[in-house]
């Protein structure tokens, strides 16, 4: 339901007329979808599960997309607490069976989706992140797609496999830099003198540029070939209305919340 709300929200914003009269929020499809999603989710508040965390994560994303940033902060905070209470922030031992591997991968994706969104919100609101760099010990998610993980034979789609997973890992690394920027420049305890401030700024700028240099070639936005292919890709998609909603959801999932493809999320 939250995914439907997100798709509907995107369509409403993209399709609206510039000079049109504003409709009351209650008449929006996305608002009704979201209210339904929250109602369903609240029936499961006593069960602390990965699926419940995923539902809260999706709700946080909808709240962010609709600029209800403060409510997003609260909902994501709840997701962080529940995730920690069920141990998503730690992992031990090696998975031995295929289904355990898939389950572990799902947990990693949910945890790091929370981590990325937490840092993004901290940056937007100028508030401390809920998750410190040393507060968890979780391996990075796989660069493979869900379908590749489910299919252990590994019939991977070469193009998508190449960069969707890389995008998510890149966002995790970027979020680490966000945390350092907050703690070194914007936290309540700031550098006391100009020399310390300059030193922090130089170091953070270097780390940010290093992050860009480490990106997969297809993600390097500073290389001209990326913009050309991106623009071509976008114009192709814009001519294909059937693919539009799918791209929208795909972009959202790969950009901030790489949700697992479990059907339980859609039930929420």
């Amino acid at each position: 339901m939250t995914i439907f709300a997100l798709g509907s929200c995107y369509e409403r914003i993209a399709e609206s007329n510039d000079g049109g009269a504003l409709n009351p929020p209650s008449s929006h499809h996305d608002v009704r979808y979201f209210e339904h999603a929250v109602a369903i989710s609240q029936r499961h508040t006593s069960k602390h599960t990965v699926e419940h965390v995923s539902a809260l994560l999706a709700q946080s994303f909808y709240l962010l997309a609709t600029c209800q940033t403060d409510q997003c902060w609260i909902t994501l905070g709840l997701a962080v607490r529940i995730a920690q209470s069920i141990g998503l922030h730690v992992e031990e031992g090696n998975p031995s069976r295929g289904d355990t591997t898939l389950s572990r991968e799902t947990n990693r994706r949910v945890w790091y989706s929370i981590f990325v969104l937490d840092r993004l919100l901290a940056l937007q609101l100028g508030r401390p992140p809920s998750i410190g760099d040393d507060d968890f010990n979780v391996g990075l998610p796989s660069r493979q797609l869900n379908v590749d993980l489910a299919d252990q034979q590994g019939c991977a789609n070469g193009f998508q496999q190449g960069w969707v997973g890389d995008y998510f890992v890149a966002m995790i690394k970027f979020s680490e830099v966000i945390g350092r920027v907050y703690y070194n420049l914007y936290a309540p305890k700031k550098p006391g003198d100009i020399a310390a401030m300059l030193s922090n700024i130089d170091l953070l700028d270097t780390q940010l540029v290093q992050w860009r240099s480490s990106l997969h070639r297809k993600l390097r936005f500073d290389l001209s070939h990326v913009f050309e292919s991106s623009r071509t890709f976008q114009s192709q998609v814009c001519r294909d209305p059937i693919r539009h909603p799918r791209l929208c959801l795909s972009d959202m999932k790969s950009s901030v919340i790489c949700l697992p493809s479990s059907s339980t999320i859609f039930e929420h």
Binding site: I13, L198, C238, C248
Partner: protein, 163 residues
């Protein structure tokens, strides 16, 4: 999408040194700034302005609102553009014209282009405002910031050339 995030964060990294008030607060009586530090501050200011310009430039060739909503991280765009436009609107006021070093660092900045980039941000807020309260608030806030600038562009550039 990564480009917007990168330039936004780079602008934020260098933004603390853009404000003269901030710099004053950081300089205690016992602190003696060296010439090298002045130069590093000027370079940091420039990087801040350039990152804000780069953010706005990503939006220069937008065909329509769909391109913005589907091609960019919409959930992050308003805060990124508030950051970029606020920097661009006040940048010219933050240059220390009594510092030869700073004037030298900024001598090839096209201030008309800086103003145009800020206007691009305003136009995006305007385009989104029909269905986004946040975009409306951002538009009004940045419009007020623009109107509050007391030094006109011509006054600024003439004093820049005199310095």
């Amino acid at each position: 999408m990564l480009a917007v995030k990168f330039y936004n964060l780079r602008a934020l990294i260098h933004r603390p040194l853009l404000s003269p008030t901030k710099l004053t607060a950081l300089s205690s009586d016992s602190t003696v700034w060296h010439q090298g530090e002045y130069h590093r501050i000027s370079l940091s200011k420039r990087k801040c302005v350039e990152a804000a310009q780069q953010t706005a430039k990503l939006l220069h060739n937008l065909e329509d609102k769909k391109s913005l909503v589907y091609g960019f991280p919409w959930w992050q765009m308003i805060s990124c553009l508030i950051c970029a436009s606020s920097i661009l609107f006040v940048a010219s006021r933050c240059i220390n014209l009594s510092s030869e070093s700073e004037v030298e660092v900024f001598k090839d900045i096209d201030w008309l282009a800086v103003d145009e980039d800020a206007e691009v941000c305003l136009q995006v807020f305007q385009a989104l405002s029909s269905n986004s309260n946040a975009a409306r608030l951002a538009r009004d806030m940045m419009q007020r910031l623009k109107n509050s600038r007391t030094i006109s562009y011509s006054e600024f550039t003439s004093s820049l050339f005199q310095a």
